[in-house]
Amino acid sequence: MEELYKKVPCRESQLNDLLNLLGDYDEPLPYSLFLSGSMATGKSLCIESVLKYLGYKHVIVDCIECYSPKLMYESILTELGSDLEIKSDTMLDLTNALNRIGNSAVRYEPMVVVFDRAERLRTMDQSVMCAFLRLRELCNLNICTIFITHLVYDNFYFKMGVREPIKIFFPNYNKDELFKIIFLHHKSFVRHVQSNHDIDIEIKEELEKPELFANFLNAFLSVFYRPCRDLIELQNMARVNFVKYCEPIIKCEIQAQDLSKLWRHISPILKTSLELLYLRISASKSSNPSPGKENAEHESQCYNFEHTLKDELTSTKTFAQSFELPYYAKFLLIAAYLASYNPPKEDKRLFMKNHGKQRKRLQQVKAKAKISEKLNTQLGPKVFTLDRLLAIFYAILEEKIGLTSNLLAQIATLVELKLIAGSKEIDLDVSKYKCIVGYDFISAVAQTVGFNVRKYLYDFI
């Protein structure tokens, strides 16, 4: 029992509920349970460890893996140990097979079927989940179905209503609990640091001190708790950042006891790594690969590649530059962006030198139309034709160039690079395009050719 609580920390009340409901071996199980709660709140872990602890016959079905009812029925039967044929096409076959298993058992044996990611059951025929909810009644066995999902029960619509399951909710871990859980893995964090660095024994002892880790975690959570409460993600980020936290100590630049200095060292790093949250780009490996190893060169290469990739992805600017588009292609892309985000009506005013009387009405138009939520830049790109693209392209390009096949090929390239979405029409006159890059990207591209996009965007005039 103690072991169970140790294995699943901070979930005592849920564990107690589950243990009580599932009861003793010879007691009847409830009809069905419904466990809900946000991602990474220990739902699957709880139920798995409870079932293992109780030693009931059980099967855990992942509803992503078993995407059709047939696969699901068969995986249930395989796990529950039917030695007969496990072909099962319909619910009838399943209940019959389960009954056969149940009747062969000498005692009143409890069986549990767990459906992980049960929200996927909604994509199947509705009768499947309805039937699973009353599986106990259908097969007259001591069988219980447990549904695990991150949705609340209200998100499961049943046309005709069902036999309601008993619901248990898993709240998210709060800051203290997150601290406690991550702190449990202190050892593995230290090992992670040690595997990346060669460390003196003296410093090693320093690193193993729990106070150091606790301090780090406090600093870490103060930054990361606000945007993210996902334990798995936080653990991953903490692992990455703890290495950086320890670096100055390893290099003997900062004393391990000098907390304020360490905080000053880590806070900008944490801020920047906040950008990497969820993106799972593996952060830079050790900056000094251990010498003498054969694959040192390969490793550093690998590191370089990862480093550049990371850089490219972290800021849109470098990402935009990484395409290294030709000069005219950049202008084509800008033209495409302008065509997508400007209303065609305003083209005349934006791109022609002599647009006559229009200017007079400008103030009125401005006063009327600028509702921030209805800006074109917020509604998404509109489609445009090739004619319009080329017209804007020639308007924003100062020099005069001919319309060559080279130029048209650039458009095809942009489509291939998925910077512009185009229809697969062969006829150039009817095909429609849409620019699918964001403002950050386009302004980075425009900067390289010295073009001010804002000046030509209707929203910002």
Binding site: N20, L21, G23, D26, E27, P28, L29, P30, Y31, S36, G37, S38, T90, M91, L92, T95, R107, Y108, S127, A131, R136, E137, L138, N142, H150, L151, V152, D154, M160, G161, R163, E164, I166, K167, F169, P171, N172, N174, K175, R226, P227, C228, R229, K271, L274, E275, L277, Y278, S372, E373, Q378, L379, G380, P381, K382, V383, A421, K432, K434, D440
Partner: protein, 502 residues
């Protein structure tokens, strides 16, 4: 010390017995005597007189339709020999909605698989009449009566396909080929509309309604309906009390004398024990089905008496009565009430040998108003909650127009810029938080393109994720509740929430 251990074992046994009673006992049927007699009559006449009948039992979910039929069959089995005189075939719409599967199951339940063998039948009717003829070809050429119980009857009325099974079954009852009784249970009042014309004309139109607030007939005269509160209170007592007759047999032997002992020891129990003692027991058949030996429940009768007093006292407690009333106010479903009792009973342990009134109230509160959505909102991160708030504000300003990520971001950055204390979070992280909300179905994508924004857009289905339109899928009240009780919510956020427009 040995006394203590004895108590531990006893409380475990009580827990097991009550759990069995709550979950497995499906023949106990209370109230609706008239309807019960009706069904009883129909089945009895089919079996004994060889008449053919059809009927539909209609009632809301959890009103006891299945229990009614089960209890009738159970009581009949005491009077007539169902096993040799009749065949009971149970089909469930959830499992047997396909006619072929249903026929297979019918064959199996008639135990005629061998007779059918590899025979190939042209039509469904042919197959069914073959099955019937197989039954008739017994030694005395007398056909066994058949009782068909079709649960989730509405599932058999599949639209689109022909209702072959129903047609054939009703046709047999209509033409009286063989004594057969077809009983359907459903919770759809409009079930008759679903039937095909030819099916409808063969159905006897015998409807048996089970509504909880019906007037009941007591001793031949109409009595006013009993309130659901009383019914559930009675159910609580019935389901949680222990039968005295399974008390330890070391002192007395016959049930009568054991009751007498109970009488002398505890006076309060006198009433229940003499009247309803049979109500508290689980029928032997149920126990056998569960492979449980009745003899293992060797309880001290004084202990049982104690327990029953405790339950009586519990049912009389004001807070318990209040919360049962609350339950009746929200839900009228016996299954759910049984689930609640199951949860309460499962809390029993040697350390906690009695049910507290607070247990009952807490469990009922949890079931009636789970507020999981509020809890889900409260388990969001601050950033995610801010996005929800931004979205709520935006939708308030634009009269519930759906919003895309860019609009929400715009609103959020406006707030974040106004408050220097909030950390700035990069755009990809916000987008990820937005996607998280979407995965939790707190926001839902707008499917139909009747919105003003993309009315002209032909490629609306292929917009980028930043521009996909979403609506809030949680009621404003839930957000209010969540923000009000959010633990450690920064003050500027609650302030922002309350002063709607920034």
């Amino acid at each position: 010390m040995p006394e203590m251990i004895g108590d531990n074992v006893q409380i475990k046994l009580i827990r097991k017995y009550l759990k069995l009673k709550i979950v497995e006992n499906n023949v106990l049927f209370r109230n609706h005597n008239q309807e019960k007699c009706h069904v009883y009559d129909i089945i009895k006449r089919t079996i004994l007189q060889g008449e053919s009948h059809s009927a539909l039992v209609i009632g809301p979910r959890g009103s006891g339709k299945t229990t009614l039929i089960n209890s009738v069959l159970y009581e009949l089995s005491k009077e007539v020999d169902i096993a040799s005189d009749a065949i009971v075939i149970k089909l469930n719409g959830l499992v047997h909605h396909d006619d072929k599967i249903a026929l297979k199951s019918i064959t199996a339940q008639m135990q005629l698989e061998n007779a059918v063998g590899d025979r190939v039948f042209g039509t469904f009717a042919e197959n069914l009449s073959f099955l019937l003829s197989c039954l008739q070809s017994g030694a005395d050429r007398r056909c066994k009566s058949m009782v068909f119980v079709l649960e989730e009857f509405d599932m058999f009325c599949h639209s689109g396909r022909t209702q072959t099974l129903l047609y054939n079954l009703f046709d047999i009852t209509h033409t009286k080929q063989a004594p057969m009784c077809v009983l359907g249970t459903t919770n759809r009042l409009d079930v008759m509309e679903l039937l095909e014309k030819r099916v409808k004309s063969r159905f006897s139109h015998r409807h048996i309604f089970l509504f909880s607030n019906q007037d009941v007939e007591v001793d031949g005269r109409e009595a006013p309906a009993r309130s659901p509160l009383e019914l559930y209170k009675e159910l609580l007592v019935i389901l949680l009390s222990m039968p005295a007759c399974i008390g330890r047999r070391d002192v007395e032997e016959t049930p009568r004398r054991r009751k007498a002992k109970g009488k002398t020891s505890v006076n309060i129990d006198e009433l229940i024990q003499t009247d309803d003692s049979s109500n508290y027991t689980i029928p032997i058949e149920d126990l056998e089905r569960c492979k449980v030996d009745i003899k293992q429940f060797r309880l001290d009768s004084a202990f049982i008496a104690d327990w029953n007093t405790h339950i009586q006292a519990l049912a009389a407690t004001d807070s318990v009565v209040d919360s049962i009333e609350k339950f009746c106010y929200y839900i009228n479903n016996e299954q759910i009430f049984r689930d609640i009792l199951f949860q309460i009973v499962s809390h029993l342990s040697p350390n906690k040998p009695y049910i507290d009134a607070t247990d009952v109230t807490a469990t009922i509160d949890k079931t009636v108003a789970p507020e999981h959505r509020v809890k889900l909102l409260q388990s969001l991160s601050i950033l995610e909650l801010s996005l929800v708030i931004a979205m709520k504000h935006g939708m308030e300003i634009f009269d519930g127009q759906p919003m895309n990520f860019e609009m929400v971001l715009h609103r959020y950055t406006k707030f974040a810029n106004a408050n220097s204390s909030t950390q700035t979070v990069p755009r990809p992280v916000i987008l990820k938080a937005f996607e998280h909300l979407q995965a939790l179905e707190i926001i839902l994508p707008v499917r139909n393109s009747d919105s003003i924004y993309n009315a002209s857009d032909t490629t609306a289905s292929r917009v980028q994720k930043e521009y996909k339109l979403y609506t809030l899928a949680v009621p404003i009240e839930d957000i209010n509740e969540a923000v009000k009780n959010f633990k450690a919510l920064p003050t500027e956020i609650s302030h922002w929430y309350n002063n709607s427009v920034v």
